[in-house]
């Protein structure tokens, strides 16, 4: 039996330093707004939000590993569960559910019913095509890349576009074998 992996991030979230979510939500909103003004093209805004998320993800994974005490996941299924139940909880204070697995177990959906990024948000008609929460997909992609998993992360459903939930599809493209920078006998 593998050692018990925390199945929930509740205890970790209760112990980390936290801030008022309004500040976070409004700051994110102000960033998106400013990017729309400065970059003009909605496509470019999507790209930059994803890039910002990626940069955050590659740093956040360290904090995640340090605080969560999770051990190596046996497969991608377990990885997805840990992201949904521990990862989302310890940073955003909400959990996601994992569904829509393909038969190979390499692609699934993370479903968020509650998403602090979009409190107070309504998109005007001029923002069609905007993936408002694209920073999240970047974070997941960046974090997984740091633990040797190349993934493709895309939005399937988006409540700001009229869907009934936020659905993020995570597809495992390739597992990069770990290369140690040292040899055993040195």
């Amino acid at each position: 039996m593998a050692p018990a992996v925390p199945r929930s991030g509740d205890a970790i979230f209760a112990n980390v330093e936290r801030v008022n979510a309004e500040l976070f939500t409004l700051t994110y909103g102000a960033i998106v707004r400013q990017l729309l003004t400065d970059l003009e093209e909605v496509e470019e805004v999507n790209k930059q939000l994803d890039q910002m998320g990626y940069n955050i993800g590659i740093r956040l994974i360290d904090e995640f590993l340090a605080k969560s005490n999770v051990t190596r996941c046996v497969d991608f299924r377990e990885t997805a569960e840990v992201i949904a139940k521990v990862g989302f909880k310890m940073f955003l204070g909400v959990t996601a559910s994992v569904t829509n697995w393909d038969t190979e177990g390499t692609s699934c959906s993370l479903i968020l019913d509650d998403n602090p990024l979009v409190d107070f948000v309504e998109l005007p008609d001029t923002c069609q095509g905007l993936y408002y929460c694209n920073i999240l997909s970047g974070v997941v992609r960046g974090a997984l890349e740091m633990v040797s998993m190349k993934t493709e992360v895309t939005w399937i459903r988006d409540m700001l576009r009229g869907d009934d939930a936020f659905e993020l599809q995570v597809k495992l493209l390739k597992q990069v074998p770990e290369e140690y920078p040292y040899k055993d006998d040195e």
Partner: protein
């Protein structure tokens, strides 16, 4: 219960605002980058103030509004109040936070004594880490300016970090 997120979320966003604007979008135009970061802060200050003052009577004078920023507003943002408030009674206010949270994780090059009294101001501004620290302050300066503008007080806000980890925000009210 007030909704919360982990502090790392906020720290990560701040780091990314600064690095996106200064290293990617306006890498060759630091003044523009600074202005955009300040604008993001302004928007946040404006919206937060609207929310936090909904059930309050109108402030009678500048000092009352500034006190609101030092106490309630700062507390919502940082779970503490401003430690020291000074004014020259001619429209300039200095708000000092002895341990400003958003700078507590910014590393400062230990080889350069920023707080050293012998430092020439010009030397200081050439020091890269001081510059990087400065970039992180456009956002909070924007928040304060946005907050006060929403309360009907147009002003200019700058920050002084010659006493790290303390940080002073200097508010000059426009007459």
């Amino acid at each position: 219960m007030v909704r919360e997120v982990s502090e790392s979320c906020m720290d990560s966003l701040l780091t990314e605002i600064v690095s996106s604007y200064c290293n990617r979008f306006y890498a060759t135009k630091p003044e523009l980058a600074a202005r955009r970061i300040e604008a993001i802060g302004y928007q946040v200050g404006h919206q937060l103030t609207e929310r936090y003052t909904i059930e309050r009577p109108r402030f009678n004078d500048h000092l009352e509004a500034i006190k609101f920023i030092c106490k309630d507003f700062w507390f919502e943002l940082f779970k503490k109040q401003i430690d020291n408030l000074k004014t020259n009674h001619r429209g300039t206010f200095v708000l000092q936070d002895n341990k400003f949270r958003w700078l507590s994780r910014v590393s400062v090059d230990p080889s350069v004594e920023i707080s050293g009294a012998a430092q020439e101001p010009s030397v200081m501004s050439e020091n890269k880490s001081a510059q990087a620290t400065g970039l992180h302050l456009y956002f909070p300066c924007g928040i304060i300016r946005g907050a006060l503008s929403t309360l009907g007080i147009p002003c200019a806000v700058t920050a002084d970090i010659s006493n790290l980890p303390a940080c002073s925000f200097v508010i000059r009210i426009k007459v």
